[in-house]
Amino acid sequence: MTLKGGTSQACAACKYQRRKCHAECPLAPYFPPDQPKMFQNAHKLFGVRNILGILKNLDPDQKTEAMRSIIYQADIRDRYPVHGCLGIICQLEYRIWQTEEALRAVHPQLEMYRHHYHYQQEDVPSQLELGMAPPNNNNSNSLPLFNQTPHALPLSGSYSSINNNSTTDMDSKDNAVNSMWIQHQYATPTTNNSNSIAIQSHQPLAIQQEVIHDYDEMHPFFDTIDDRQSYIDSKEAYDSSSEESLKDTTQSIEHVAENELKSAAACFSLISINR
């Protein structure tokens, strides 16, 4: 429906309600006529009266942000009619928990590597200068990475597969969240911070049960990281510990030193070097 004598088209809200869209239409700035679905979702979830009620007491700049969040919320509810935004929140919390667990597993390894690397950097040059072999390091933890189970090393490939997995789950209408947050209860608010609602009302026990299940599913993902894992396996077979690689390096250096001495001696004596 167009304005009388005007050139602007009616907004999606007025079009849907089949009424005249006047210049002061409060919803016109937020619902353009070329996106009717946006208004339909918002209207289905909130209703025009409730949207206007929300906007009533807000400043103009707050109104824009409020409408954005209303439109987003309505769209999510359209995609996921059962769980809506709460489903998204639960999935995000789960991803955070997963990533934090991965970091917790990986940090000690990194510290060990860092320590070993710096030890290697400090000791090897001084030992070689003296012509001495480095101490035989029987520490079996020197390269724990190769001996650990795959799930301790969540590479970006695995994240993408988890990412894909979560995307697939979100696409299958509300099936992803299911038992994880069904135990989430409507809780009486105890704080004033709306951002903490999701976290405080979180049911950790339910999440842990889901995690155990997911870890069983995660092992096949790491089998798909073929390139890196095969590299690690081949490296493991060839060089199972750093002490062996260190030994090889030292032996080659000793070999060179020995050759130099022998060739030097050959210059001054009749001793020939048979190889």
Binding site: N50, Q120, L145
Partner: protein, 174 residues
């Protein structure tokens, strides 16, 4: 006398058993001041002990919209739907501007930050495993700048993931 009293009691019990008056109305029907019928769609999910739950939902979404939503989902999913609506209504009451979308924004940023940290840590591990020096801290980030799963555009001001193109409103209408 005793017999008359007993008869009266029996009569009252009979009346109560035959009508819905034996169950107290649900929070929705109490709030709307209407008779709570046996097939009331709100009754299983809005018990009379939690009046605030329905009050919030009605204020934000409206009873009519909630009833339509519940009719569109399967009966075994209705409890979850009501709980999610109650959560969203409560969030919107506390924060009329962002509602529960504020929490989503915060969590998304946290996910991005943690994933970047994990990627950097894994990269360092690989370098150590290859017996190389680790990269300097400043150059490690950037592998996964956007964990957006393709659901929409990132609003740079608020970091919300909006499914619609928001360029057409907001700039000139404030």
């Amino acid at each position: 006398m005793k017999t008359a009293l007993q008869a009266k009691k029996a009569k009252i019990i009979k009346i109560m058993a035959s009508s819905s008056y034996s169950n107290s109305p649900c929070a929705a029907c109490k709030f709307l001041r209407r008779k709570c019928l046996p097939d009331c769609i709100f009754a299983p999910y809005f018990p009379p002990e939690e009046p605030q739950k329905f009050a919030n939902v009605h204020k934000i979404f409206g009873a009519s919209n909630v009833g339509k939503l519940l009719n569109e989902v399967m009966p075994h999913q209705r409890e979850d739907a009501v709980n999610s609506l109650a959560y969203e209504a409560e969030a919107r009451m506390k924060d009329p501007v962002y509602g529960c979308v504020g929490a989503i924004s915060v969590l998304q940023r946290q996910v991005i930050r943690l994933q970047r940290e994990l990627d950097a840590t894994n990269a360092d591990l690989i370098r150590y495993a290859c017996n190389e020096a680790p990269a300097p801290a400043t150059s490690q980030f950037g592998s996964r700048r956007d964990s957006n799963q393709g659901q929409g555009a990132v609003d740079q001001n608020s970091a919300f993931y909006f499914p619609y193109n928001n360029d057409h409103f907001g700039d000139g209408h404030e």
